[in-house]
Subunit: 379 residues, 2 copies
Amino acid sequence: MRKNYLLTPGPTPLPPEVCQALGKPIIHHRTPQFQAILKEAGEGLKYVFQTQSDVFILTSSGTGAMEAAVANLLSAQEIAITVEGGKFGERWTELCKSYGVQAEVIKVEWGKAVDPAEIEKRLKNNPDIKAVFTTLCETSTGVVSDIEAIGKVVAKYNAVLVVDAISGLGAIDLKTDAWGVDVCVSGSQKGFMLPPGLAFISVSKKAWDLIAVSKSPRFYFDLKAAKKAIQSVDTPFTPAISLVIALVEVLKIMKQDGLDNIFKRHRIMADATKAAMKALGLELFAPSASSDVVTAVKVPAGVEGEKLVKTMRDVYGVTIAGGQAELKGKVFRFAHMGFIEEFDIIAGIACLEKVLKEAGYVFKLGAGVSAAEEVFLRK
Amino acid sequence: MRKNYLLTPGPTPLPPEVCQALGKPIIHHRTPQFQAILKEAGEGLKYVFQTQSDVFILTSSGTGAMEAAVANLLSAQEIAITVEGGKFGERWTELCKSYGVQAEVIKVEWGKAVDPAEIEKRLKNNPDIKAVFTTLCETSTGVVSDIEAIGKVVAKYNAVLVVDAISGLGAIDLKTDAWGVDVCVSGSQKGFMLPPGLAFISVSKKAWDLIAVSKSPRFYFDLKAAKKAIQSVDTPFTPAISLVIALVEVLKIMKQDGLDNIFKRHRIMADATKAAMKALGLELFAPSASSDVVTAVKVPAGVEGEKLVKTMRDVYGVTIAGGQAELKGKVFRFAHMGFIEEFDIIAGIACLEKVLKEAGYVFKLGAGVSAAEEVFLRK
């Protein structure tokens, strides 16, 4: 017997309703039956995105929707700001480079959030900047950005604000319309509690004006084709039908819970996780801006980071994430996002304690778990 | 009670093993557990593609892999032949246009297959042609191309041969290596009996030489990144995990059956379907080159084509496909591909007979079914 527990920042565990929906016989996508599903999915996505704009469903990983944003908004030689505070911020820069877009990179120390004033300074200095590419929650560091504040800044200029909300949307607050997010990108395997395979992208009026004149080559990710198709409740290319059907199930659950309750659940789980880490004498990697989605924790001296994650997973069945790129072996990332509740967090902390103890790290067994219980009891 | 029967050229019905695999709890993709799955999938794909080259798994519809072919092989201003004998051949031309590639279009009458000599004439006239884009089975007309003959022609020149085998691979024969197919593109929801959401692409040595110098922008579909990732049994971006897990189940079934038996099953189903149509006095749309994947049939005078398809689907639960683009209302397309066996074909023909009879079309009830039975009994 081997039971698996998943506490990674994507994919997150799947609700049983999703598993059931995925296992259903397939239906054809050019039918009134599937059109009803597409319509319901579109309305549910608007609710989660907190937008009145259309939200397009792409069959791809989240990166596909990030590419859609770059390729549809900008042409070669144009200038865009990219905020780089981790692996996924760097992806915006790489995407810009791929399309010949001049990336004006704002380097942010890993573990810190970008200062909106820095974005304003750049926008003021260069009126030719067409877009600002940011990240809601930088999965590689656990840092959350202040998108509301960035939105207020960008709204004053001609540039559009693009947010990679792949990690975070549907788990923490992001008010697409109210905060002035022109293009919001997300994916299925995080807050949406689905398997990976779908990406979502919303587009504001201000962004459509750029899309109308962009000369970058694109076909599969062409948003003009997506817009034309959505007007007849269709998709330009065959969609991942089973994932869209499961999406509707997830959106029902999310609507029933309500966004405020969902955000509150994530906040409490994050607080409990962080309290547990502190009680274990561990240091958060990003104490000033740690998100409610995933917590990056410094691996204590004397413990091997990669081995810690492997032991939890391969010996005990509890999958958390290790560090990526320059943080490899230096942090572990404990996720509290998606189809996860308080007792999953407790289970994950107990496993962490067990493996830390076995690795010779000194602390009082149960200290992390009881600190988390304390938070859950209080809130 | 409503039972649904699916006889469309993608998606095809799903084997129960696939439904079960899709409904399983999710696992993380950066684990030894998933690597073992990726490895098995890669080996199985090589078997079905009949190639020694790597076959890359993309999370997208088949069109994404078509775009990958164009964007990775060619740069703007370069010249390629596109063979247009239906809606999906036209897609190659549209893709080339999107990337600024000059498409030398070979227009083929819808319902006919391209003459390999015509391709040779063009290649001989213009040594600058870098690629020839063709279609194995043109889903919009049911026509199958003679890829083996085309491969012999293209092999003599510098150009690479690219085949859209989305519809057909794993159902009818296509020997990627032996026939000189440099880039073979397929999708999950046809011969592979999966939901849509995955695309596959194989790349020959000759094609890698073009990829090395292509300047077209690409990121998500970048095959160099895919090649780098596959070397460490990984994917460059989060894959559609549940679909890849189900793919392994399908590949097991396909290996057990053996390609020859699979091709034979499709051939017999196609023969039976075509015999039934003739027995009903109906005319095939592409009598000279009708594929073993899908049969396009002319709607007889006095019958409304779109209504025929709708009645079969909405009143009786049997989904076949109508005509696309210029064939809208003029043909219906009866698929015999994927997880379908002889008695599904019989059921579909019986439904067609019922609706034709109700529409006032004159024929002997049971004539189609018994003609099909005859074929199945003989073979």
